[in-house]
């Protein structure tokens, strides 16, 4: 690994990869935190705040390491608060609006079902710094997927209305799942270095997890194979700009302040 980082191109690939991990956690954490105080039942308020808290904690670690790898003196906060939308590298899936509580849960499940195997693979990364972060995050995310899968099952196989809402959420979000498994040169470089798994290698496991949960939830996997993409290379939906306008407000309006 050390030899690999000696070349600038590989450092750029690793930086790119770390931004993708950190930005997924940051943007999803932001979306989840929007529910604070508005969830359908008190236990869900607690669980959502807890999920958001885990994700923001992971953001600090991924973006902290990204700044270190980049070597330009940028901190996790600098990266979170002072980049514009085109510099963000998260999946489109995580920036989509919350919708109803069913859509929020379905988005969480589809993401968690990818996030967990990704982190498990990263825990064996050739880069010990990556492995260390993943080993911490994997414990949190194992709980996230347990909870989101359980709720998808219960609501899918609940009332007619809860079933219809969960199916609608799945149909809406499905075209945003394919992006998780696409590769570019940065992915290939980190995979070749044994830092991260090739994205496509996670597809089968994800499909198995999702198929089993959907079957138990009596939900039907959507037929279309079309995948929206662009988030991982900085081409986002219109929604991300508003997330950043809100999230970055204080840092932008009062630059250089200590908080």
């Amino acid at each position: 690994m050390a030899a690999l980082l000696d070349t600038a191109i590989d450092r750029a690939s690793l930086f790119e990869f770390l931004l993708r991990m950190g930005d997924n956690a940051l943007v999803l954490g932001h979306r989840v935190s929007e529910w604070c105080g508005h969830a359908p039942v008190l236990e869900e308020d607690i669980a959502l705040a807890n999920t958001a808290l885990d994700l923001i904690g992971q953001t600090q670690l991924w973006l902290g390491l990204a700044g270190e790898v980049e070597g330009q003196g940028r901190s996790a906060d600098n990266l979170a608060y002072l980049r514009d939308a085109h510099e963000f590298r998260n999946l489109l899936l995580v920036e989509l609006p919350n919708g109803d509580f069913g859509r929020t849960l379905m988005r969480q499940f589809l993401f968690d079902a990818w996030h967990l195997p990704m982190l498990k693979a990263l825990a064996a990364s050739s880069d010990p710094r990556v492995a260390e972060i993943a080993a911490k995050a994997v414990k949190e995310v194992a709980y996230h997927v347990e909870r989101s899968a359980d709720l998808v099952i219960r609501l899918g196989d609940g009332t007619e209305e809860s079933h219809a809402r969960m199916q609608a959420a799945l149909d809406e979000l499905w075209p945003y799942t394919g992006e998780m498994f696409l590769s570019d040169a940065a992915d290939e470089a980190v995979a070749a270095a044994g830092i991260a798994p090739a994205p496509a290698s996670l597809r089968e496991g994800w499909r198995d997890t999702v198929a089993a949960v959907l079957a138990e939830a009596t939900l039907k996997e959507p037929a279309g194979a079309y995948a929206h993409k662009g988030g991982r290379s900085g081409r986002h939906t219109e929604h991300l700009g508003y997330i950043l306008a809100e999230m970055q407000f204080l840092q932008r309006a009062y630059p250089g302040s200590t908080w």
């Binding site: 105080g37 359908p40 705040a49 979170a80 609940g158 809860s162 200590t258």
Partner: protein, 329 residues
């Protein structure tokens, strides 16, 4: 204080001689400092008063998520965001313990929520004020949680066992909340001129509403005596308010902020500060529903509950199906 103006279900304090033998035995246990536990006999008025007080406290915790939740998505650093999320999560957790404590008195969480949503039960008046700048999050931790602690620390010794135990857990977390609030204020007060102005503005707006949290002055507080005899209220409103002012003034001075009260002065003789009373007409307006955010706060809770009906129904239906399948197998 998260429970204000809780009506005590009593016509005045009876002397031991006026009590029935059962009431007398009950009062003597309280006087000895024993805890009353859920299955034990208690006067109906004691039970009802406690339900009101604990319920109001629980409602305050969950409505209290909203003014702080207003800044989670705009917290200025990742660390501040994480701390605020943890704090709001604690508050939802406090709501949960308190609803559970109320359940031991024979009232369900759903019944209490119905009363909140229909306006029959209140939550603390403080949460009807808006959070307008980031320093308000500091002011809430420092002043609002500070005032809540003032009341809740003595309530750890309250006579009702489950309430006392809930208070012990809650107080541990509240002192962390207060410290993080003061830390935000300190950073702001010692920051740029714009940050200092935000901090002062937050203090100006939250000072009197915080003093109101202790409830009306003792001379206007009609139901306190019985609650104090039952040890479900430990100190009077004015005692706690004085203690709060005495604690807070030096903290404000230390970070260079000014308490918005021209009459504030140290009184050597009483060993405490003289200070201006809040505008009680404003307090009664807020209690009556005319605070700046009453409609929004209650509206947000009602909307969350109504929008979530399908979710709760779905979970129940699934549990029934599962039970049915188990029975059939």
């Amino acid at each position: 204080m998260y429970a204000q103006m809780v009506r005590t279900d009593s016509d005045g304090v009876k002397s031991l001689d006026e009590m029935s033998p059962q009431e007398r035995a009950f009062q003597e246990r309280i006087d000895r400092g024993e805890k009353i536990e859920p299955k034990e006999w208690m006067p109906e008025a004691y039970r009802k008063t406690l339900v009101r007080q604990i319920g109001q406290h629980a409602h305050s915790e969950i409505v209290g998520q909203l003014p702080e939740g207003n800044w989670i998505t705009r917290a200025p650093t990742l660390e501040r965001k994480a701390i605020l999320l943890a704090k709001v999560q604690d508050e939802a957790g406090h709501g949960l313990y308190l609803y559970c404590a109320a359940e031991t008195l024979g009232v369900s969480r759903d019944e209490l929520l119905d009363k909140l949503h229909s306006g029959k039960m209140k939550y603390s008046s403080i949460f009807n004020y808006p959070t307008l700048n980031w320093a308000d999050i500091g002011a809430i931790g420092w002043l609002v949680d500070g005032a809540a602690i003032m009341n809740q620390v003595p309530l750890q010794r309250t006579s009702y066992g489950p309430y006392s135990r809930a208070m012990i857990r809650i107080c541990k977390e509240e002192s962390f909340h207060q410290r993080q609030g003061y830390d935000i204020m300190m950073k702001m007060a010692r920051g740029t001129p714009a940050q200092k102005a935000m901090a002062q503005d937050a203090l100006n707006r939250f000072w009197y509403p915080s003093l109101m949290m202790f409830g009306p002055s003792d001379k206007d507080s009609v139901h306190s005596a019985q609650s104090m005899a039952w040890k479900i209220k430990i100190n009077t409103n004015d005692e706690l308010r004085q203690k709060f002012v005495d604690q807070t003034v030096p903290q404000a001075e230390f970070i260079g902020l000014t308490i918005p009260d021209d009459k504030l002065a140290w009184n050597e003789e009483k060993g405490g500060y003289d200070f201006s009373e809040p505008d009680w007409s404003e307090f009664y307006e807020v209690i009556a529903g005319n605070g700046p955010c009453n409609r929004e706060r209650l509206g947000a809770r009602v909307k969350a509950w109504e929008d979530g009906a399908w979710f709760r129904d779905g979970l129940l239906a699934h549990a029934r199906k599962k039970e049915g399948r188990r029975a059939a197998a």
